[in-house]
Symmetry: C2
Subunit: 237 residues, 2 copies
């Protein structure tokens, strides 16, 4: 474990800091009761999320011009509403529902863990979510970020190297002074490939109880932690 | 006064939120005592700040490529050290002294005022200072920003219209949903010219006791306030 010289921690957000699946199911069920929509909201959440990587891939390949996540989420949402046969939502209601991604709830350890880490490190987002989404989410859920960094600021999506290097550059730091924190090993390995440090946080429940997630610690990550509070302890906070 | 529909307040920082002059004089005097440098630190501070607009103008005109404020501050600093005959500082010491701009102290009303405003609005920086500078300053001085926005993110300096419009776009808001807050009337008028609202905060002491500053309220600003706490009161916080 090599952490000397680390000055900032940049966090993946969806899945690592917030529970997108549980949040969407909860709010979907409320919407369903209010509007008389009786569908499997867990399936809806999973399929919304499943549309995300292919939509970003269309941007990363150049098939689509730069398009922020709010817009990609809405494109996917419109298709899902059709697939699930949901009718009767106004445009305002669809827009409000699309913005559920701005209201995702943190895992229980996220706010206390970040609060501890913030005493010693700069704590920033480094998410494919857009700046407005991340700012509104932080305000909604009390996430104590020092700085909102997003793929939007370099107009490239993770895992493109420009996202990690751009974040370090905006923080005025060398890559090795920045530690990427994520529940997704691919994100961490992409960050490591351009010189950042890596901290893995296990989120076994990200995809729900029936999906097994690889949460095995890895020796080549600088830190492996069960959650963000344990990360704080391991980083001496 | 028209504030309905305002969702975010974007703040000029140097002079409006922090007292650059007092901070640089105080830290300069400390540096002087530590290193045996006996110069007029108020004059040093004023000349450092005076070099800022011409340096940005060179970027705005295209004479220099995009260059962040940390680098412009250092260019000006090197000239000033020569002019004042200051020798014997190592490169590390010069770099640390250049980063005094990351450690500027807030006016007494800034933190309590922002804390109140944050209950109701998104509060963000919108400064020509770079992201690292603003992030470090917030951490140093406890400024409770929801989001760090900077000219650096659009690679244009205020008062270029792209800075104001880019901030609104990143916040996912229409220009009229964003209110620029500044102690500088030109900054506010440039924001208004592209559709933002404007709140003037009087900072009569920004340039020291012997420089008279125009702090007259103006009817065409949406709000005029004596300080950021009064701004919070006037905005119903």
């Amino acid at each position: 474990m090599s952490i000397s010289g680390v000055k900032a921690l940049t966090f993946d957000v969806f899945g690592t800091v917030v529970d997108w699946r549980g949040s969407i199911i909860r709010e979907g069920e409320q919407l369903g009761r209010a509007k008389g929509i009786d569908i499997d909201w867990a399936d809806f959440a999973d399929r919304w999320r499943a549309g995300y990587a292919p939509a970003m891939a269309r941007v990363r390949s150049g098939e689509l011009p730069w398009t922020r996540i709010d817009v990609l989420h809405r494109m996917i949402l419109y298709g899902l509403l059709d697939d699930f046969g949901v009718t009767g939502l106004s445009e305002d209601e669809k827009d409000r529902w699309n913005r559920v991604w701005h209201r995702l709830a943190p895992w229980p350890d996220s706010v206390p863990g970040l609060t501890r880490l913030r005493q010693r490190f700069i704590v920033a987002t480094l998410s494919n979510g857009n700046v407005a989404l991340l700012t509104n989410m932080a305000k909604h859920s009390g996430l104590p970020w020092d700085c909102i960094l997003s793929a939007e600021l370099v107009r490239r999506y993770k895992p493109d190297p420009e996202t990690y290097l751009g974040a370090a550059d905006l923080l005025g730091l060398r890559p090795e002074e920045v530690m990427m924190v994520a529940a997704h090993k691919g994100d961490l390995r992409s960050a490591q490939a351009v010189g950042l440090r890596a901290a893995f946080v296990a989120r076994p429940d990200e995809f729900g109880p029936s999906v097994e997630v690889d949460v095995t610690p890895e020796a080549d990550f600088d830190v492996n932690a069960a959650d963000i509070e344990e990360l704080a302890i391991k980083l001496g906070c």
